[in-house]
């Protein structure tokens, strides 16, 4: 995919406006300040110039769960930001996540980025790039639309506490690993999930061909081959929008290649050798139910250690 100059120009203007907030002298970095730093990061990575960013003395940088020097990896591969993406700050944890599309030498990827900001300086950078060509689902970005609800507030009556929101997402992971039909979370009837732009709950995805819908898939045991979901973290939780950003590693031990759903229908394991997936997912929760999930998934060597959590 080639960069769209008009889209890039629009992005630059809006990002430049946001980035002006970095230098505002508030005592702590609030959400506006977090967004400004993330915005400046995106502008500067596209320029391949890290010299003006507010780095802390010690910075940890990972890309697809591998530590490396700033300037290497995505920074060095002719990077560009495609469209505006979504900024998700959480000043209470010092984290801001950006979820959007990027390109390397013109080839698009789904990109989840987490920055940790301490004393208005960047201390951590954690990126996941869902690129085309890996043995993982990928939908062409031209048809990708992020659901608008991720940027919208939840009416006061439908909000949950931080703890409740995390519990619902953790319950999602508990339900998915060794998926046996027991549901430990709640979904809306129209719940939809996307990974690397592809709908998992409808359309041509193998799981959707078997069963459609979040709850129906989980109750059918579609995800039985997921052995573990570990290294779960929740760096951004927003009770007002009902959005939780979750990071995790999903292990597929591939001990078998065929299995049956709870109704007895056969399914085939998609990758017949042990593998893991590094994931950054956004969960939208309304009235105590997960309504939308959208995220980046990266194919990783099986059981690779998380660099961020054991």
């Amino acid at each position: 995919m080639m960069k769209s100059k008009s889209r890039m120009a629009a992005l630059c203007c809006s990002l430049a406006w946001l980035s002006a907030g970095i230098h505002a002298q508030t005592p702590v970095c609030d959400n506006k300040c977090m967004n400004a730093i993330a915005t400046q990061y995106l502008l500067d990575v596209a320029k391949q110039d890290s010299s003006q960013l507010p780095w802390a003395d010690q910075v940890r940088y990972t890309e697809n769960n591998v530590g490396m020097m700033i300037g290497d990896g995505f920074w060095g591969a002719d990077p560009a930001i495609l469209g505006e993406g979504l900024l998700l700050p959480d000043a209470s944890t010092g984290n801001v996540v950006w979820f959007g599309l990027t390109t390397e030498h013109g080839q698009a990827a789904y990109h989840g980025l987490r920055l940790q900001v301490v004393n208005r300086q960047i201390t951590e950078v954690e990126s996941y790039l869902g690129r085309e060509g890996q043995p993982e689902v990928f939908a062409k970005v031209e048809g990708y639309v992020r659901h608008t609800s991720f940027g919208e507030g939840v009416p006061a009556g439908g909000r949950q506490s931080r703890e409740q929101l995390i519990a619902l997402v953790d319950g999602y992971f508990n339900s998915k690993q060794q998926n046996n039909g027991q549901l430990q979370t709640s979904f809306t009837n129209d719940c939809e999930q996307k990974t690397n732009g592809m709908s998992i709950t409808s359309g041509d995805h193998w799981a959707a061909k078997a069963v459609q819908g979040c709850e129906a898939q989980f109750k059918a045991g579609v995800f039985k081959p997921v052995d573990r979901i570990r290294a779960r973290r929740y760096p951004v939780v927003n009770a007002e929008t009902g959005v939780v950003v979750a990071l995790s590693i999903e292990d597929h031990a591939a001990r078998y290649v065929d299995y049956t759903m709870l109704d007895g229908k056969p399914l085939a394991v998609q990758v017949e050798y042990p593998n893991s997936r590094g994931k950054l997912d956004l969960f939208k929760i309304v009235d105590g139910k997960i309504s939308h999930i959208d995220g980046v998934s990266v194919f990783l060597p099986y059981y690779i250690n998380s660099l961020w959590q054991q």
Partner: protein
């Protein structure tokens, strides 16, 4: 697969498994792969070289792969051949369609995309057979997506984004010249370290 044995007990197992599906890479039909019988040959004494020299020759191979620009830091026999994941990459298709033979390919700079050959280890050396087994990573930073061979032809990188390959690679070395190379490799996330190696990356040059 590498197994380390101490006091008759297994202390380490390291495997590199080339599997499908994966990103574009050689994958030979397992039922048709044959290993060159010369790997088992005991060399005549005059063709033996000391362990240090055998490692130097293999290390020179990696130095040649790294930033491959036509400069060759090791020696090859004229009939040198390389098998990668069960496919000959020095004859018949793939890289061999651009140039055939170990040295000719390196002189042409086919493998320019290798920014680093990292965390090199040489855990097995057999002087009598002239074999060095090496492990390491080839880092494809993909800071560029096209490059020129030394004869001026333009090449395009297959993948556009940073990636690495993790490999076990064996060298058969006769009289100080590499005659056979055989490797198993698989893609891993860019710059992933080995749990067995100590990082030797020079961060000044990255």
């Amino acid at each position: 697969m590498r197994i380390k044995v101490e006091h008759n007990l297994i202390t380490e197992i390291e495997t590199i498994v080339n599997r499908l599906p994966d990103m574009p890479k050689p994958f030979g039909d397992p039922d048709k792969v044959t290993h060159d019988p010369t790997w088992n040959d005991i060399l005549p004494p005059e063709q033996w070289r000391a362990r240090e020299r055998l490692v130097a020759v293999a290390d020179g191979y990696f130095n040649t792969v790294e930033l491959n620009d036509g400069q060759v830091f090791t020696d090859f026999t004229e009939d040198c051949g390389r098998l990668e994941n069960g496919i000959s990459t020095t004859s018949n298709g793939g890289s061999a369609s651009i140039a055939q033979g170990c040295e000719a390919q390196f002189r042409l700079g086919i493998y320019r995309i290798n920014k680093r050959v990292r965390e090199r280890r040489y855990p097995l050396i057999d002087e009598a057979r002239g074999i060095v087994l090496a492990s390491g990573f080839f880092d494809h930073a993909n800071t560029f997506d096209s490059y020129k061979l030394t004869d001026g032809r333009e090449m395009k990188t297959v993948l556009k984004w940073p990636n690495s390959i993790s490999l076990l690679e064996a060298f058969k070395i006769r009289s100080g010249e590499i005659s056979r190379v055989e490797a198993v490799f698989t893609y891993v996330p860019y710059f992933m370290p080995s749990p067995f190696a100590t990082s030797n990356v020079d961060y000044q040059t990255r």
